[in-house]
């Protein structure tokens, strides 16, 4: 049998609902299996840990050719319709309902759960500087703002996963 994975470092780089959740699910799943995990948020992925943004994460209905209505196996949503006001809100609320059924928590609760599970959470310094953010803009579970060099140091011995 191959060697067991002992540690993962997961990077979340996108700020849409489908950009943020996969990384959160993987980090939480790692901790559930007894695997050490670190989460690193960069670029728009930072929205998942910014206090004022994290409760308003949405699905992109524009530029998303896989967007189907009324469910995943329905016909594709014509691109121009995705731009109708309220479409993103609607698609997001539909998906959140489905997620709740599967017991997938909202972003804020998920971050708390992952942090309590012993996963460390970091924000990318380059993006924080670029967006003119400070530590106070983030939810309390964020362990720090670190450079890419520090990220690699913390990831020693880990599998790095970019999402």
């Amino acid at each position: 049998m191959s060697e067991k994975i002992e540690k993962v470092s997961i990077i979340i780089s996108r700020g849409s609902l489908d950009g943020i959740y996969p990384g959160l699910i993987m980090a939480n799943g790692a901790r559930m299996e007894g695997i050490e995990a670190t989460l690193f948020f960069t670029f728009f992925g930072l929205h998942g840990i910014i206090n004022k943004k994290m409760d308003k994460i949405k699905i992109a209905t524009v530029g998303n050719p896989a967007m189907c209505v009324p469910s995943a196996m329905g016909p594709g949503l014509p691109t121009w319709m995705g731009a109708i006001p309220g479409m993103s809100w609607f698609a997001t609320s539909m998906m959140k309902k489905e997620m709740e059924k599967l017991d997938i928590p909202p972003v804020r609760e998920f971050i708390e759960m992952i942090s309590d599970a012993g996963c460390e959470i970091y924000a990318c310094k380059a993006t924080v500087d670029m967006f003119h953010l400070t530590k106070d803009d983030f939810c309390p579970q964020v362990n720090g703002i670190i450079s890419v060099g520090e990220f690699y140091e913390k990831s020693a011995g880990a599998q790095i996963i970019f999402t």
Binding site: I25, G29, I104
Partner: protein, 105 residues
């Protein structure tokens, strides 16, 4: 499939090393599984989790998600990870005599 000798009893295990038959389980079996998992003593808090998991499994056919478990059993996430270090979902399920949980959350 494997059969093991536990405290003078023969117990059938599944491919993951979990108890095959729900009804083979009792508190003694739980203690033995706990020892195998590196938990030497099951405290009152462990039992809350174990008994909640067995109840859920009986009702729904699968172990509860960690979210549901922590919300309904009164044992929070931090404590759960402290009680069952290195993989609470799988360990607690094993000790509770349940198959490996199927869910992702």
């Amino acid at each position: 499939m494997e059969t093991i000798d536990f405290i003078g009893r023969k117990l059938e295990l599944d491919a993951d090393g979990h108890l095959k038959n729900f009804n083979d389980w009792d508190k003694e079996v739980a203690q033995e599984f706990a020892k195998l998992e590196g938990i030497n003593e099951l405290t009152e808090r462990h039992w809350i989790v174990i008994e909640y998991m067995r109840k859920e499994f009986k009702e729904n056919g699968d172990a509860p998600s960690i979210r549901k478990l922590t919300k309904e059993s009164g044992v929070d996430t931090k404590e759960l990870y402290a009680l069952f270090p290195k993989g609470p979902a799988k360990k607690a399920a094993k000790i509770a005599g349940l198959p490996k949980p199927k869910g992702c959350i």
